[in-house]
């Protein structure tokens, strides 16, 4: 079913090395709009490194990463820092939560909608003078934040500092914030880590909701196989930086190379 949607991300022969050690070795895969593409593999397989290349933390050794939206094409490997988020609209979350802990939940969501607000406020000058365009935009921004807060049941915490939320709520808020950027590609780095079963089924529901209702492709790194097998449309398996398998969940479950990588090879 995967390929009825347009191609969103094409990673082609991506390699990344740290002082001579290849952390990602010649990895290619595609991700499609409105699809959940999971990247799995044992610890140290290079999954997060792929994310770090996509979001501009690392400049890859070689390979290309192309992001398509509509007519436009972005060469992610050539883009720098904030532009990847701002122009190419790639959002990500982290293994260890990175919210702005001293800002309120709502402010965390508003600050993520940087572009819209800054332009509407004429870089603050207009906003200070109370221009109507800015006020309207601000209303829209808060509406969007409210929409996602309702969706994730966080609306009652809107005015609390984000750092005071429970662990599970912070995880959800991170995804909420990423969605407030209205991304085309959402990269989630172990969103289910540390969640209890109820919270993690909540998370699956949220991800499925995002996939059904928004034009966004999701890249998912996850160790929790029930999550991965339950919601992903396509799985890419990495081991020691190399891609060892890819395909829909059913085929990955049976794949001998994957089983060997996870459980060790038989004598």
């Amino acid at each position: 079913m995967a390929n009825t949607e347009p191609l969103l991300l094409k990673v082609d022969r991506l390699s990344m090395a740290f002082s001579g050690l290849l952390a990602v070795d010649d990895v290619s895969f595609n991700a499609y709009n409105k699809n959940i593409t999971a990247i799995i593999g044992p610890n140290g397989a290079g999954k997060t490194t792929v994310f770090n290349c996509l979001t501009g933390f690392y400049r890859p050794l070689s390979g290309i990463m192309l992001l398509y939206h509509g007519e436009k094409r972005f060469d992610l490997q050539r883009m720098k820092d904030f532009r990847i988020a701002q122009k190419a609209k790639v959002a990500r979350t982290f293994q260890n939560i990175r919210l702005f802990p001293n800002m309120s939940v709502l402010e965390n969501l508003v600050v993520a909608q940087h572009n819209a607000l800054m332009r509407a406020s004429w870089f603050t000058v207009g906003g200070l003078m109370g221009f109507r365009s800015y006020k309207n935009k601000e209303k829209e921004v808060i509406e969007l934040a409210k929409y996602w807060l309702t969706r994730t049941d966080l609306v009652e915490y809107a005015d609390l500092p984000a750092g005071n939320l429970s662990y599970g709520a912070q995880r959800k808020l991170e995804i909420t914030r990423a969605m407030c950027m209205e991304p085309v590609l959402l990269c989630l780095d172990e969103p289910a880590a540390g969640l209890n079963p109820a919270e993690s089924s909540d998370l699956c529901e949220l991800l499925l909701f995002i996939k059904e209702n928004h034009r966004v492709g999701i890249l998912l790194i996850e160790h929790d196989m029930s999550v991965v097998m339950g919601i992903s449309d396509y799985i890419v398996v990495l081991d020691y930086g190399k891609k060892i398998a890819e395909g829909p969940p059913e085929s990955i479950r049976e794949n001998p190379a994957v089983i060997a990588a996870y459980l060790g090879e038989e004598e």
């Binding site: 402010e107 508003v110 600050v111 607000l117 406020s121």
Partner: protein, 304 residues
Amino acid sequence: MEYFIQQLINGLTLGAIYGLIAIGYSMVYGIIGMINFAHGEIFMIGAFISLIVVLLLNSFGLSWLPAVLIIVLVMAMVFTSLYGLAIERIAYRPLRKSFRLAPLISAIGMSIFLQNYMQLLQGARVKPLQPMITGGFTLIDDGDYTVVLSFLQIIIIITTTIIVILFSFIIYKTQLGREQRACAQDRVMAELVGINVDTTISVTFIIGAALASVAGFLYLLYYGVVDFFIGFLVGIKAFTAAVLGGIGSLPGALLGGLLIGLIEVFWSAYFSIEYKDVAAFSILVLVLIFRPTGLLGRPEIEKV
């Protein structure tokens, strides 16, 4: 009692000036974790630019006081901001990814450079300004001591209040301010939500420099003299104020400024005027020993 009230007024006035400068130290520390030791020189440059603009306006024959005050204030803020921007670009941005001490040393170098630059440009002699605002209210007059609240002191306190309210509004209520706070809390994540961190840091320096230039202008009005070296002592006192209030906290910086102003004035009034600087800097030492986070600062929590 009358004497006390008079000193209180004087202390608050001086404290307002320190507070304005201290905010600049605190903001820059909050966002890039560095003490901008050239900030005192920014203040000095602000004072010089104010003096130049005042003299220019006078030579054009403009002498209607409110107009002069506003024009000077705006011009000083604009030009001093450009200095702030340039300093960040030249001396700090190239070193941002370097080790922690590098920008600090660069800042000290910048401070020395700016002092000498101003000395070469404007000469080493003290530059006076004729008092522009004279007179005041006599609050209490009991025969042998009169308590005077001068118009100048009123202007200083009102200007400071307005400026502080305006900039607090920017920082706590606008998107620009939210972005600054986001950068202060997690620069990497700020970048990932699409905030241009470099621009945000530049804006912080611009705001800090603008506030320092206001302080420079008020200082010029209050004392009537400037020279290329005023930035050093006033800068370090404002830094003390920022530490006392809790570095990184803006209300703290203002509070610290007021306290340092009061301490300095009361010390001069009741003990000895020669040792007023010693009093101010003893506070710095005591705060660093007993309460390093300052009055309103939050302790840094190390996360594992």
